[in-house]
């Protein structure tokens, strides 16, 4: 379980690691907004170059990354797509703007070219935003994260929550494995061999000590923080915030340009001159797009209509 964690606790030595927390958080927020704002696969592809380059430049341990991406392809890519195809095979009509059947099996199950493109584009979008997250998590330690949030004028109590939570995960995960192992040693069956009722009881027996011991620590930590004068003043300085490096200065200037770019993109392509349907696709010209309201194809509403 331990090698599944990407979270980074020691400051690294590459250029990305050495940036200040403020720059990292700023870049993360901007990239996330940009990827959420666009529905065009070409733009997403361009946007994801930098996060991927950042991941490679940090020379990370690739094992957990590969595992996570594999897991995501399985859960979101394969299972999610099958579910989409089963539940609403005509999703391409509302979101891409066309319905070219390429394979049909009965009245309610068919595959259209547009639906396949829709699945692909949505997956690319989710994957790109996940890349941004991975790059950010690899580069940032909990205290840098907190100081970076403070740089964006988030109240420092919220920053402390984030960094403390981030830092507590391995502790809790370790305690969870410990309790689980000791429970299993005493003969509590947690695998699928036991019946559902037994498993429910066993999980409850496992959760109670975990929750109690986790919240039992709250008082100790809170007292330690109070003793050091936490929350006495309105402002706080951050130990991990250091002087700007050269890369910081360059990236912060680029961030300004990037922000202007995002705003311009949203204003022009989403407000003034929006694409008629949600997703852009390479094989439908703008004039041929069939526009269908999002609610007209909902089968749930059809039941109510009758």
């Amino acid at each position: 379980m331990n090698n599944r964690f990407l979270i980074n606790f020691t400051p690294g030595s590459t250029m990305m690691h050495k940036l200040t927390g403020g720059t990292k958080v700023l870049l993360f927020v901007l990239f996330t907004i940009a990827i959420i704002a666009t529905f065009d696969v070409r733009v997403i592809a361009v946007l994801s170059i930098l996060p991927i380059a950042a991941i490679i430049s940090m020379k990370p341990n690739y094992k957990p990354i590969r595992f996570m991406i594999g897991f995501m392809v399985l859960v979101v890519g394969i299972i999610g797509s099958l579910m989409l195809l089963l539940v609403s095979p005509n999703a391409g009509l509302t979101n891409v703007g066309g319905s070219t059947v390429i394979w049909r099996l009965g009245e309610n199950f068919f595959v259209t070219k547009e639906t396949l493109w829709y699945i692909f584009a949505m997956f690319v979008k989710r994957l790109a935003s996940f890349m941004v997250v991975i790059a950010f998590v690899l580069a940032t330690t909990p205290s840098e994260f907190a100081s970076g949030l403070a740089f964006l004028h988030v109240p420092y109590k919220v920053c402390t929550i984030v960094s403390l939570a981030y830092r507590t995960i391995p502790d809790i995960a370790r305690r969870y494995t410990d309790i689980k192992n000791s429970m299993q040693m005493r003969g509590v069956e947690l695998s699928k061999k036991a019946s559902l009722g037994k498993r429910l009881k066993a999980t409850a027996a496992l959760l109670v000590p975990l929750v109690v011991s986790s919240f039992g620590k709250v008082e100790v930590i809170a007292n330690a923080m109070d003793l050091r004068g936490f929350g006495r003043l309105k402002k706080r300085t951050w130990y991990s915030e250091h002087e700007l490096t050269k890369a910081d200065k360059v990236l912060r200037k680029l961030c300004i340009l990037f922000t202007i770019g995002i705003v311009a993109y949203i204003v022009w392509f989403r407000v003034i001159n929006p694409w008629p349907v949600t997703y852009w696709s390479p094989f439908i010209a703008r004039e041929d797009i069939v526009k269908v309201g999002r609610f007209e194809t909902l089968s749930i509403l059809k039941w109510f209509g009758k």
Binding site: S88, I169, V211, V218
Partner: protein
């Protein structure tokens, strides 16, 4: 006027050091439980025990701490779970936690051992309403805005999530709250300075 001020205060909760640490620990616990604490029911469907965290945090500290704990916790769960970021669901879960954590607002004061049948009924209603509002309205809206997702799939997932959450929140949540309330009640006849130190 006095009444209104009090409700506002209860909604916000008291943000001292203890609350901050509890919210942080709650968020981490939420994240870990969401990934590893599911009770497998069928293949690919599990009752997530993470929903207990907003119940406890909400009961002890109020709705806004529960909101923050669930929101941050869900982002953490996405980070360690490896299924990608689902900000739409994080927002939905946070709103649901807010509704679940409304306990102190309608008078169920866990810290002083007050949790009666009346409060249980209101709690169950709050759980249903919270789930319906957050997963039936808020999550679909953000799914469409953020990812252009398909509404029908989202509704089916939301329906499954609502049933599962409701089962955990009511079947496990009420006994947990009752136990917590009893624990605090047995302590509450002690003087403040003795009870809080150890």
């Amino acid at each position: 006027m006095e009444e209104k001020k009090n409700i506002g205060k209860l909604l916000l909760g008291e943000w001292n050091t203890k609350t901050i640490v509890a919210v942080a620990v709650g968020a981490a616990l939420f994240g870990v439980l969401m990934c590893y604490g599911g009770i497998p029911v069928f293949t690919n469907t599990s009752l997530t025990t993470a929903m207990l965290v907003p119940v406890i945090v909400g009961g002890l500290f109020g709705p806004l701490p529960a909101f923050v704990a669930a929101g941050v916790g869900n982002v953490i769960a996405d980070l360690i779970g490896g299924w990608g970021m689902w900000f739409d669901w994080s927002i939905g879960n946070a709103v649901m936690a807010f509704c679940v954590g409304l306990l102190p607002v309608y008078g169920a004061n866990i810290k002083e051992g007050v949790f009666e049948v009346k409060h249980m009924v209101i709690y169950a209603i709050c759980c249903i309403l919270g789930n319906v509002i957050s997963f039936g309205v808020i999550t679909p809206i953000f799914t469409v805005i953020f990812y252009g997702g398909d509404l029908e799939v989202t509704f089916i997932q939301a329906f499954a999530a609502t049933l599962g959450n409701f089962a955990v929140l009511v079947v496990v949540g009420i006994p947990v709250l009752k136990v917590l309330a009893n624990r605090y009640k047995s302590r509450s006849n002690l003087a403040q300075e003795h009870s809080d130190n150890y």
